[in-house]
């Protein structure tokens, strides 16, 4: 799992560097994010994701202690928080669609904004959805005795990594493109 996380970290790193390259090279990069709704939404998403990391820690610890019931409750709490995060993320996307942002066009400036924004946040959203599915499979399997605490821990590493990536996406994609 660590090797996967390292390769994924470098993938996200390359995407963020690519975004930085295009943003620096464009003189008309859009700054569309208003406090309400975008930044407020992102702040709630951040709280939800960091809280889900905390519940994931509870799940791993309970699984290691052999408390299946508690581990299950923590895992399903993490899944619920992941679904809330994904829902808020999709709401953010639809808000931008309403503003006229598409993959290769927007009303404000460089058309590459949409390409980079949707690529990076989309890949992160895909990781969140994949994580929710993986957590669901692990939660059911662990309850039935098909999976061990080691499986829960490995999935936890992945989930914390998704949280970690978000810590870079928020400042670089949202906070550096504030509407003033």
């Amino acid at each position: 799992m660590w090797l996967f996380i390292i390769s994924d970290a470098i993938t996200f790193g390359a995407l963020l560097f690519g975004y930085g390259y295009l943003r620096t090279a464009s003189s008309d990069w859009p700054t569309p994010f208003k406090f309400n709704p975008s930044i407020l939404n992102v702040m709630i998403m951040t709280v939800v994701l960091i809280t889900s990391s905390l519940t994931m820690l509870g799940a791993v610890d309970s699984a290691k202690a052999g408390d299946k019931g508690k581990a299950g409750r923590f895992l399903w709490s993490t899944i619920l928080l992941g679904i809330v995060f994904a829902g808020l993320h999709i709401r953010e996307w639809f808000g931008l669609f309403d503003d006229g942002v598409r993959l290769f066009q927007n009303p404000w400036g460089s058309p590459l904004f949409g390409a980079t924004f949707f690529s990076i946040t989309g890949l992160h959203l895909l990781h969140v959805i994949s994580g929710v599915v993986a957590l669901g499979v692990i939660a059911r399997g662990f309850a039935k005795g098909r999976f061990t605490a080691g499986h829960v821990e490995t999935t936890g590493l992945y989930w914390h990594f998704v949280d970690l990536v978000w810590m870079f996406v928020v400042p670089l994609i949202y906070l550096l493109n504030l509407s003033r």
Partner: protein, 103 residues
């Protein structure tokens, strides 16, 4: 105390890290609305993001409790690769000013 009863303590154990991560996220938003230049803001936000990520890797992902060899084989390699990606910046500035390669 049974192992199952002990398991509830992990949330309390990691709450300080949780609140520090939330604090970093809040501080980033606050600083983003101050009148810093883009470059200054970028540096500040990156320092805060790296600090938050380091806390998450060390405590949430338990890297500080893993074997030292795992830490030494993973982290320097990632930092090296990410540093190597920095060679793109001179070209993006060239593009911004639409200068040909010779200049």
């Amino acid at each position: 105390m049974t192992a199952a009863a002990k398991s509830g303590n992990v949330i309390a154990k990691y709450l300080p890290v949780y609140f520090v991560l939330l604090g970093i996220a809040g501080l980033e938003v606050f600083l983003a609305y101050q009148n810093f230049s883009t470059v200054t803001l970028l540096v500040i936000l990156l320092v805060l993001a790296v600090s938050g990520a380091a806390l998450a890797v060390m405590y949430f992902m338990h890297l500080m409790y893993e074997r030292r060899s795992l830490f030494l084989s993973l982290i320097p390699a990632v930092i090296f690769v990410l540093l190597m990606m920095n060679m793109i910046w001179s070209d993006s500035f060239r593009l911004l000013h639409l200068r040909p390669f010779a200049h």
